[in-house]
């Protein structure tokens, strides 16, 4: 087995891996390597041929491949090494990465810092236990997206979409463009799991009905799917008797959630957050194993790639500083709690601040939709910071910068989202997020 040494290695060459590698190189890491299993860089962006990427990062609207190529070009302009068609088999503490490829065989890379950037995978029908038969024609929306956009084949002609995640919404529009009939989108929750702009641009603009509070109770068909049975659910998500109806279709696309693809981290013993299914990281995006960082959808599922790039740059810079011996040991570690109204917070813990640091950026997911709200930061049980939110949706990440002076040296740190008093919401102009 051949052996190599690098300062920073990113596992994955999607938007997170590329941004982390670029930031690491800029921050002074001499030898940087991107390991990518596919035959090109860009990751899942390459199959996202629709618009809407990069409004924040590049201040213009790009396609997925367009956004990816901005980064591919930036990587090409550096001396960052890229190994394509290369699968990482293990990344062990100490930075020993074993990978395999058809051209180079089995290879060991010794890395001073490692950035996990493996992205996420789609939840499957099995994970949500949808009963029925198992015919052809049932696909996760992303797998179907790859076939349509990259291979040029269609998964069916009469389509039903289960779940209102963004990929499913995008695919509703794509299949309509391709000439298929998209009959409906069924979402078990009383609210959509996709971005509002996708509901409008992918469903409403094409007259595709979105059924909220509906669950698929059976998939039918022997060779090929012939239809599904759907029922309404109550507020405990239990099926309401007598509400069942059938929808004929020859294709079911599932868009029922994304899960960080974290098996390498789990195998290495990285501490995980059971809610995000990603690593527990500090503000440097360092995991519980020193020298191992995480960014992008492998850390927590994002709704905008722009935030992925930004977060990966933090991880990449931190990885470079660790490789150069400049990242101080984490010192006193403090947990950050997602309290009332919130499901997740990243980073989940804080290490000692760098000198001169003014603020820390936090990313949140709300537990449920709310109207005008207050994002609150509580330090040692006292309200230390508050910001207004015009509207709160679980599908849209909340991002907030908290001044370091507000955090101070409090031992317990907790965020909450609470309904805003009405007059506050009415009186003040409230900034919109993401």
């Amino acid at each position: 087995m051949r052996e190599f040494s690098y300062d920073v290695v990113t596992i994955g060459g999607g938007p997170a891996g590329m941004a982390a590698a670029l930031a690491a190189r800029e921050a002074g890491a001499e030898r940087v390597l991107i390991l990518e299993r596919d035959r090109e860089l860009g990751g899942i962006l390459q199959q996202c041929i629709h618009n809407g990427f990069g409004l924040r990062r590049f201040e213009e609207e790009l396609t997925g491949p367009g956004y990816a190529h901005r980064y591919v070009d930036m990587v090409k302009a550096t001396d960052i090494d890229v190994w394509l068609d290369t699968t990482v088999l293990a990344a062990e503490p100490g930075g020993i990465i074993t990978s395999v490829s058809p051209h180079a065989g089995l290879t060991v890379v010794r890395a001073k810092s490692v950035v996990y950037a493996m992205g996420c995978r789609e939840r499957t029908r099995g994970a949500i236990r949808t009963p029925g038969s198992r015919p052809a024609g049932v696909f996760t929306a992303g797998a179907a997206q790859r076939m349509v956009n990259m291979e040029g084949y269609l998964p069916g002609k009469e389509v039903v979409i289960v779940g209102s995640g963004d990929i499913g919404l995008i695919m509703a529009r794509r299949m309509t463009f391709e000439g298929a009939k998209v009959k409906a989108v069924f979402e078990i929750m009383p609210y959509s799991n996709g971005l509002t702009r996708n509901i409008v641009q992918c469903l409403e603009d094409f007259g595709i009905p979105l059924y909220l509070g509906h669950s698929v109770t059976a998939i039918h068909g022997k060779d090929r799917v012939t239809g599904i049975t759907v029922s309404q659910v109550n507020d405990k998500l239990e099926v309401i008797d007598g509400t069942a109806f059938d929808v004929a279709c020859d294709c079911v696309l599932l868009s029922v959630g994304l899960i960080p693809e974290n098996e390498l981290g789990r195998a290495a013993g990285v501490a995980l957050d059971p809610i995000t299914s990603g690593a527990r990281v500090d503000q440097f995006r360092q995991t519980s194993i020193p020298g191992f960082f995480a960014a992008g959808n492998v850390l927590h599922v994002h709704d905008l790639v722009d935030w992925v790039s930004e977060e990966a740059a933090i991880a990449g810079r931190s990885a470079a500083r660790h490789a150069c011996g400049e990242l101080a040991p984490s010192g006193r570690e403090r947990s950050v709690m997602a309290g009332e109204g919130l499901r997740t917070v990243v980073p989940q813990r804080l290490s000692d601040f760098e000198p001169g640091k003014m603020s820390v950026r936090f990313y949140f997911r709300a537990a449920k939709p709310m109207g005008a709200s207050l994002l609150q930061f509580w330090a040692d049980g006292a309200l230390a910071f508050e910001r207004k939110l015009r509207v709160v949706k679980p599908s849209e990440m909340i991002v907030a910068d908290i001044p370091v002076r507000k955090i101070g040296d409090a031992a317990t740190l907790e965020f909450r989202v609470v309904p805003a008093p009405e007059q506050v919401a009415a009186e003040e102009e409230i900034e919109e997020e993401a």
């Binding site: 699968t87 236990r129 198992r134 052809a136 797998a143």
Partner: protein, 497 residues
Amino acid sequence: MTGSFGAESLPESADVVIIGGGVVGCAIARELARFDLSVVLIERSPDVATGTSKANSGILHAGFDAEPGTWKARLNVRGARLYAELAEGLGISRKATGALVVAKNAAEMETVAALRHRGIDNGVPGLEIWGRDRLLDHEPNISPEVAGALWAPTGAIVCPFLATVGFAENAIRNGVQMVTECAVTGLGMVDRQIVAVQTTRGRVATRFVVNAAGLHSGEVARMAGDDSFTIKPRRGEYILFDRSVGQLVNTVLFPAPDKVSKGILVSPTVHGNVFIGPDAVDINDPEDKETTAGGLAGIIAGARRIVPALPLGTAITEFAGLRAAAGKDFVIGSSPAARGLVHAAGIQSPGLTSAPAIGEIIVEMLQDVGLRLKRKASFVPVNPQKPRFHDLDREGQARLVASDPLFGRVICRCETITEAEIVAAIQSPCGARTVDGVKRRVRAGAGRCQGGFCGPRVTAILARELGIPVTAVRKDSTGSWLFLSRAQLEAGEGVDA
């Protein structure tokens, strides 16, 4: 004299025709392949192991369950012994985990004690009664509210697909012709003697027919005017969990049995997963493999009796299988209505375990009704080993990639299955023809993402290796097309067309 496998034309005649490419038919084919005979196996689906053989518990039963004196009792114990000898050479993954029948109270302790005595009558070796402490020591994740268990050290687990494919491949290597996508439409008879099998691919003249048609074996019997048995499909649902919780149980865990079935099991699989199931529901449609919300809830409740903390969040798939029940025992023997027709029917549990022993007994029965057997010197009892990248150490993996660069391209990331393994699964004598056929042979797509990432790539590899368009690649059954071309959609062609 290698045989063949595929949707090809039938020969005009054969010494023996086997109907059905499940584990039983394939084990019979492999047994017959020892002799100087022309043997044809016909299978309705594009692949072997697509009926009862693909959706079952994958357990090699020790043999304490069946009533002494039945075919089940006799063939189970013999079959379990044969697997121990055959598995490695045929490439059948098998793990000698042992099995436990868990008793929750004093009454159930009496039940398991009675099972032990029955097992001794059936010739099952090594049966022991364990107390609570020993049981909890062996299985720390089960309910503390247990009284003890029956320990059966010869209980084991096996991959049912690899068992079927292993028998089939060896049969083909030794000359058997397997014709797929070929359904029986009638049996030709003259004076109550079988003379031919009529199929959707034409007629094959033969004087000996083995009915191993599983759920459809009653219909095949009826074609010969034989109504000596009927098949009642009995559905069982399962939930399979990810390998990340593979440590949940070490052994096959049965609850103390009731009258209807062996109860809801919690068991490891040879590939490191865990499953729960099956229930037992009599149904009418021999194709109805739908899982139901009630059925899944029932097996979850049943499994929780043994393992209260089920990791439901790690479920990766649910499926239903159908057992071909014909009464209390297997239906094995010559048809009372047609000379030359031998049944291997009504093979419910412990059918997978019994399969190689059924193969032996059917050959004897064919001889009894006049088939002349002459052993052939050229019989090779084993299949060449197929390297599994994931199972090797780093040096072994490095050697594989050096031997064939396609071992360096991981297609299925969940299970670490390389392109070389997928190509080998397609190109082997009993090669995969469908996406699910690849999954059953090498586990590409059998992991936590269920083919979300590798499905499109496996489809492309199948199209390339089989020399067919992507639109002709199927999931599993004959009509299970996966993708349409844009031209087909524009022309208004349906995937069902």
